[in-house]
């Protein structure tokens, strides 16, 4: 099972230029997108790197809040109509979002809004999201209230697919309870994500764990070694865990 995941990571993720990150509200899409974009930029396989923040439904904790940090790592951030406007009541996307999507030299991570309503905005960029150059991933957190079961998580993904007309091609397991996450939490999420993948016929690509909270060297994490993905909580202020 893990080999299958590993194989798909190689076969899918590294070939395609655009990766769309979708998922339920609060599944951890944005944290994953930021971490994933940093990892991809580090590979230096493309001339340019971009993170397109298409989340126009969530007012707080958006990836464009981390613009400066991402730019220092060579990742351009696109999304809001005004560069530093993160508080607009009716946020709009700037036309410049199309730039990286059109540029064949640019590796693009697309951070979509939560649920089907948030992902709906992907439709206006559909012409760029051809199967040849696009992977669509879904982040799943089985500790989230509304995606506690495989059936609930499958329904969320089906709703996102219906709203966007895009097929989710891989899962990112991100089952956590923030600072209360344990190796057991990650393992439980891994098992449920595998069941979800089985049900949908798509691979589980990553099992995220919060850095500094879960120790990946923990023996129980050994079966996950091919899929473990370290997640730094860039968007969460430290005082939130006081």
């Amino acid at each position: 099972m893990n080999k299958r995941g590993f194989f798909i990571v190689k076969a899918v993720i590294q070939i395609k230029r655009i990766t769309i990150i979708t998922g339920h509200y609060g599944s951890g899409k944005t944290e994953f997108a930021v971490n994933f974009a940093l990892g991809e930029a580090g590979k230096r396989e493309y001339a340019k790197h971009a993170l397109c923040d298409l989340d126009i439904v969530n007012p707080y904790f958006r990836s464009r809040e981390k613009r400066l940090m991402l730019e220092e790592h060579g990742i351009s951030v696109f999304g809001s109509s005004e560069q530093d406007e993160i508080t607009a009541e009716i946020p709009a996307l700037g036309a410049n979002v199309r730039g990286p999507l059109e540029n064949a030299e640019c590796r693009v991570i697309v951070d979509a809004g939560g649920n089907d309503s948030g992902a709906l905005v992907l439709n206006q960029f559909r012409k760029y999201f051809t199967p040849e150059q696009t992977d669509v991933l879904a982040v799943v957190n089985f500790s989230r209230y509304e995606t506690r079961t495989v059936a609930d998580a499958a329904e969320q993904i089906a709703m996102i697919e219906r709203a966007t007309g895009l097929a989710v091609g891989g899962l990112v397991g991100n089952t956590h309870l923030l600072r209360e996450t344990t190796a057991e939490t990650v393992l439980r999420g891994h098992d449920l994500a595998l069941q979800l993948g089985e049900k949908l016929g798509i691979p589980l690509l990553y099992d995220c764990y919060p850095v500094g909270v879960v120790d990946p060297a923990y023996p129980q994490c050994a079966p996950l070694r091919d899929t473990l993905f370290p997640l730094n909580l860039y968007l969460r202020p430290t005082w939130l865990d006081r």
Binding site: Y60, E89, R144, L240, R242
Partner: protein
């Protein structure tokens, strides 16, 4: 539904809505406004399937008056909004207090004045503690600092509102509405069936039923001045009792601190980290975290020891709670302000730096 002991990861707004349903609050009336729109969204999906009623009002004015009507008829009602929406509801709040109609209301506050912005603020402190409605009335206000505390307070407030026959306000800033925390949810308290309201709330407007001699009237209009005066005095008798019974506060090291910070909600969380930073600089800081904003815990300031040089009110406003802090401290110690407003939030380092500066000035 999760069992009582299962930890789940919930966004504040979802947790508030779920806590209200589990608390037995069967009716929700509201109008969407950021940063709490997830609440009406959640309620529209969940309440009808669980035997409750969700109704989107045409405005916040409509919502508060629907709450007045449903509450007067004995329904257990929850409403929520954000700052400008709560402002629109103030007239209704005054009516509910006068007519003694229970309600649990939630303000997920944002920056103001006016339409302001959608980032977090605490500048509705006066609005919720003093009230923007007319006449003499009081509303107990709880200000949780975590999602779990908010769940527990909303759940408890469902009973408190019915007991006190008064609205209870829960006051959080947008950060608490939008952030996520692992929480434990309480068991579902059953909704009161319509046929049982007559027994549970003998004062409610339930029609004549089988007894055509007894008719309840729930109203705020009292045309005779002596009658109105008696009514207001009766209400204030109740409020004086509430001042004793509903006052809640948490303290940390205030007996022997160099300085004492006073903060509620999100700012109290930041203050805890700032206090750790100050300790590394050799300054011992204590914390007063009011949980009830009305009644305000004035007496807690008597516990501040002789070592303390200043009391600092830390707020996301231009300084509103500081007026209550001054009443509590009296002339014993200087009271200073550290603040951000407009949706800006201080970092723990900002807070520690400002507190250190004040300490050096007064020491």
């Amino acid at each position: 539904m999760a069992n009582g002991n299962d930890k789940v990861l919930l966004k504040g707004n979802e947790a508030f809505a779920e806590a209200a349903i589990r608390g037995g609050l069967r009716f929700y009336f509201g109008y969407p406004i950021t940063p709490q729109s997830e609440i009406p969204e959640f309620m529209s999906r969940e309440l009808p399937k669980r035997g409750g009623v969700f109704l989107q009002a045409e405005s916040e004015l409509g919502a508060i008056n629907m709450a007045y009507g449903a509450g007067a008829a004995g329904g257990a009602v929850f409403i929520s909004s954000s700052s400008p929406g709560i402002a629109l509801m103030q007239e209704g709040m005054s009516f509910l207090c006068s007519a003694e109609v229970p309600l649990v209301a939630l303000n997920v506050s944002r920056g103001g004045p006016g339409i302001g912005g959608i980032q977090p603020g605490q500048a509705d402190y006066f609005q919720v503690t003093r009230g923007g409605g007319n006449g003499d009335y009081k509303i107990p206000v709880f200000a949780p600092a975590s999602i779990q505390e908010a769940i527990d307070l909303i759940y408890e407030s469902a009973e408190l509102a019915a007991y006190w026959r008064n609205p209870i306000m829960i006051f959080v800033d947008g950060i608490i509405g939008q952030m996520m925390e692992p929480v434990t949810l309480p068991e579902q308290r059953p909704f009161t069936e319509t046929s049982k309201i007559r027994d549970a709330k003998p004062w409610a407007i339930t029609g004549y039923g089988d007894d055509d001699t007894k008719k309840n009237v729930v109203k705020s209009l009292r045309m005779q001045p002596d009658d109105l005066e008696r009514h207001v005095e009766y209400l204030f008798e109740k409020y004086r009792r509430a001042e004793k019974e509903l006052c809640r506060v948490e303290t940390q090291d205030i007996e022997d601190a160099d300085i004492v910070l006073v903060a509620f909600g999100t700012v109290a969380r930041i203050a805890r980290e700032a206090i750790e930073i100050l300790a590394t600089r050799g300054i011992k800081a204590g914390l007063v975290r009011p949980i009830s904003l009305w009644p305000f815990p004035y007496d807690v300031f008597d516990k501040i020891g002789s070592r303390t040089k200043a009391v600092i009110s830390a707020e996301l406003s231009m300084g509103q709670m500081i007026e209550d802090v001054r009443i509590g401290v009296g002339k014993r110690l200087p009271v200073r302000l550290i603040n951000r407003t407009g949706g800006m939030i201080p970092t723990s380092l900002d807070l520690a730096d400002s507190a250190e500066k004040i300490y050096k000035e007064v020491n």
